[in-house]
């Protein structure tokens, strides 16, 4: 259940960023979560509902970008989509590869509600 740790880290990052930018609350949050990033989405959604309670993210609209895995074969340089770590290069069958994307796990953007205009 590491997904709860992930949610709590998101809450920490979002709260710190909101305070730094002088926002009053967070309206939207956009997350990059690669398909190879060890996150089980059902567990994540469950942890999210629990983890954001009474935090700055409690009323937020969440958008998750699921980024598909892509790799380049180290033997034949073929670029291909990677669903699983055990997938082989479809061109030459090699398992030696450089993973180009799909492991992302980051807070990309947030929409903040600004503080009341200063007089």
């Amino acid at each position: 259940m590491h997904e709860l740790s992930i949610v709590l880290s998101i809450v920490d990052i979002a709260t710190a960023e909101m305070e730094k930018a002088g926002g009053q609350s967070i309206l939207e949050i956009e997350l990059d979560m690669g398909c190879l990033s060890s996150i089980e989405m059902n567990a994540f959604e469950f942890a999210w509902m629990q983890g954001i309670k009474e935090t700055a993210l409690e009323h937020v609209v969440k958008k998750v970008n699921r980024i598909e895995g892509r790799a380049r074969c180290l033997d034949c340089s073929n670029g291909f989509a990677l669903q699983h770590f055990y997938d082989a290069c479809p061109a030459c069958g090699s398992h030696r590869m450089d993973i180009l994307q799909g492991k992302e796990l980051s807070v990309k953007t947030m929409v903040l509600s600004q503080a009341a205009p200063s007089p």
């Binding site: 590491h2 998101i10 920490d12 960023e17 958008k63 796990l105 953007t109 929409v111």
Partner: protein, 258 residues
Amino acid sequence: MCATCGCDAETTVTMHEPGAHMHDHSHHEHTHNHDSSASKVLSVEKDILQENNLLAQRNRGFFEGRNILSFNLVSSPGSGKTSLLEHTLTALKGEMEFAVIEGDQQTTNDADRIHATGTKVVQINTGKGCHLDAHMVLHAVQNMQLKQNSVLFIENVGNLVCPSMFDLGEKERVVIISVTEGDDKPLKYPDMFHTATVCIINKMDLLPYVPIDLEKLKTNALHINPSLKIFTLSCTSGEGMQQWLQWLRARVHEAVTI
């Protein structure tokens, strides 16, 4: 496409807690009612695991500065992490300086077993936590006064899933699997095998009694991680232990000469 978050009609992953949102916000029709003077888009671009990763790098720097070779031992519960440690510590006693950090949800049973070998050990109890993180290791290390040129084993919580995401600052990540667990284990828990540097296949003395294809197990692990260094051994019979110990000696020597 929505100007603020870039979503489109095909994207249905947005979640909204019913009744909690205070302004009119029909996300997929994109009729946002944010008052542009009152809201602002912030580019954050921060790794969610950055706090753990920064602390892990701090640990790593500390280990490297003192020439401490650090291992993170991971496996499912009961694969033989503590047994492997007991046998390793006993066999190499006097040859090199060891310290151990034990991670379990509860009890000091494992630390007691390590303590019995005469090795310095600290137990971390994670309570309900399912993995060790770099922060826990940082505090454990602060109380240990680790010696220069020593070897640190960190035995993670028995769990083949969660610890894979958390860098502790270790030099080598050793995944242990026993032959009773089945040859498809690497396929079922790929993240751990993908992030490990060494794989130890334990309980080889039980091989004649279990329906497992050892070569298939190795192939599966290597398909996920072609650079994995694999050892097959039995803590009970001692079979294969010499190869592991020899590799460990060489690894320590390498660390000293770098």
